[in-house]
């Protein structure tokens, strides 16, 4: 679990981990965009479960807790602010719709919501892409983001990653692991596209994504 605050500010003490009766106050202690990872995680679980029982106030609390993550992630992938707002809205409505199906046994709410958001953003990128250049091969597509994309990914990772520990852990990866993961995740590329852009065999990229993520998992202490 991350110990550092995303903004580099010290993590506020929120007392005990959020309990059911303290969810509202915990949510209030983390206004939009300033989520403290550890407590936010368990608070998000509880809020999402309550939202699943039709509690709109809990859902509003969940929005306040996670909207910056969702919007930031979607925007990172889509770039376009207007589209990002639209997709963020879709994501939260989907979260509301599916809330009763969230099972804390099978993962935490933050990860559940983030996966949903990322998937939506990627779907949007790919359907837009399919509509405009369905015919083009990946190689022909490379100019879309090749030079900019290459450098920018590195730059984004260097400049915009605010979790110190995440940055340190990313630093422990090989360059190929890091690039494979960040290009796929932040740009919405498939592993075949990443392989093309990195001029690396497809099976290698596929493997590097997996062993890179496993190394990150171990470094970050993300457990079952």
């Amino acid at each position: 679990m991350l110990a550092d605050h995303p903004d580099g500010r010290p993590l506020r003490s929120v007392g005990d981990r959020a309990r059911a009766d303290a969810v509202a106050s915990t949510a209030a202690a983390f206004p939009e965009g300033s989520t403290g990872p550890g407590s936010a995680r368990s608070a998000a679980d509880l809020l999402l479960q309550r939202a699943g029982r039709g509690d709109q106030d809990a859902f509003a609390g969940l929005y306040d807790l996670l909207s910056a993550r969702v919007f930031g992630l979607v925007r990172r992938v889509l770039r376009d602010p207007a589209q990002s707002e639209e997709v963020t809205q879709e994501v939260f409505l989907e979260v509301w719709r599916r809330a009763a199906r969230f099972d804390p046994e099978l993962g935490n709410a933050m990860s559940w919501v983030s996966s949903l958001a990322h998937r939506r953003a990627v779907d949007r990128v790919r359907s837009a892409q399919a509509a405009t250049d369905r015919e083009r091969k990946v190689s022909a597509m490379a100019p879309r983001d090749s030079d900019a994309g290459h450098d920018e990914v590195g730059e984004q990772v260097e400049l915009r990653l605010e979790y110190e520990r995440l940055r340190r852990c990313l630093g422990n990866l090989t360059e190929l692991q890091r690039e494979s993961i960040t290009m796929a995740y932040y740009n919405g590329y498939t592993y075949r596209e990443v392989a093309e852009l990195l001029a690396t065999p497809v099976p290698t990229v596929k493997t590097r994504m997996r062993d890179g993520l496993i190394r990150l998992r171990d470094c970050l202490g993300v457990g079952a």
Partner: protein, 237 residues
């Protein structure tokens, strides 16, 4: 059956870096491999932390828009705990589903004779079956790539097909149902790409049908599948 190297795709899967075909294979694999599913869960949590690093507050107006949207959005019911049910329970469900399908066939047959008189009854039967099918979905459902589940129950020369929570397709796309068997694959119907839930009774006509499959196709459907199979449900458990 999934390709032998499917397991190594868990990383790319957690990053949403797979095309529909690979994704389908991985999801099929995950359904049979709890260890892999756990790995995916962990790698997704790692990916979520990568996502958190990009955090950026949305414009304040979005909050009101989202909460207003919630006001008018119905929630899905929880999934019924299904894993723990015994195979005996499951057989009972399937047997009962088959019986219910038989009822609907009878009702539909009657409609042909006296449409107006029997229509309400047929609707009632279909509604019962729909309700039944949803109860059954927990035990015999197969994941659909992209979301949702597919469940089937065979009765004589008919198959009842029930799909739930299918994600809305983009405009101009539909879901298409297929029946596969020794004679190949043939279309057994097209479903509105935004229907979400579907209950269909399908005539198998030729014997030896093996499975029901679902693909996404251009509006109007295709002669043969033109996209990767999104879900496959065998007719015999």
């Amino acid at each position: 059956m999934t390709p032998p190297d499917t397991h190594t795709l868990t990383g790319a899967y957690a990053l949403d870096a797979l095309d529909d075909y690979d994704r389908g294979n991985v999801e099929q694999h995950l359904a049979d491999c709890p260890v892999c599913a756990e790995e995916v869960e962990q790698l997704r949590a790692v990916a979520a932390l990568l996502g958190a690093a990009a955090a950026e507050s949305p414009p304040p107006s979005l909050r009101a828009a989202v909460l207003a949207g919630v006001e008018g959005t119905r929630q899905l019911p929880p999934r019924l705990a299904s894993r723990a049910r015994s195979s005996r329970t499951r057989r009972l469900y399937v047997a009962a589903a088959s019986a219910a399908a038989g009822l609907v066939i009878a009702a539909f047959g009657a409609v042909a004779v006296d449409q107006h008189h029997q229509l309400d009854q047929a609707r009632g039967q279909a509604a019962n079956l729909g309700a039944f099918a949803s109860a059954m979905a927990g035990t015999t459902s197969h994941p659909v790539t992209g979301g949702g589940t597919l469940a089937v129950a065979a009765a004589g020369d008919h198959v009842f097909v029930s799909a739930r929570d299918l994600p809305a397709l983009s405009a101009g796309r539909v879901y298409q149902l297929w029946l596969t068997g020794p004679a190949g694959i043939r279309s057994v119907g097209v479903v509105d790409g935004r229907a979400g839930d579907v209950n269909r009774l399908v005539k198998t006509s030729t014997s030896g049908a093996v499975a029901v499959k679902v693909t996404a196709e251009p509006a109007g459907g295709s002669e043969q599948p033109t996209t990767p199979v999104l879900a496959s449900a065998p007719l015999r458990a």
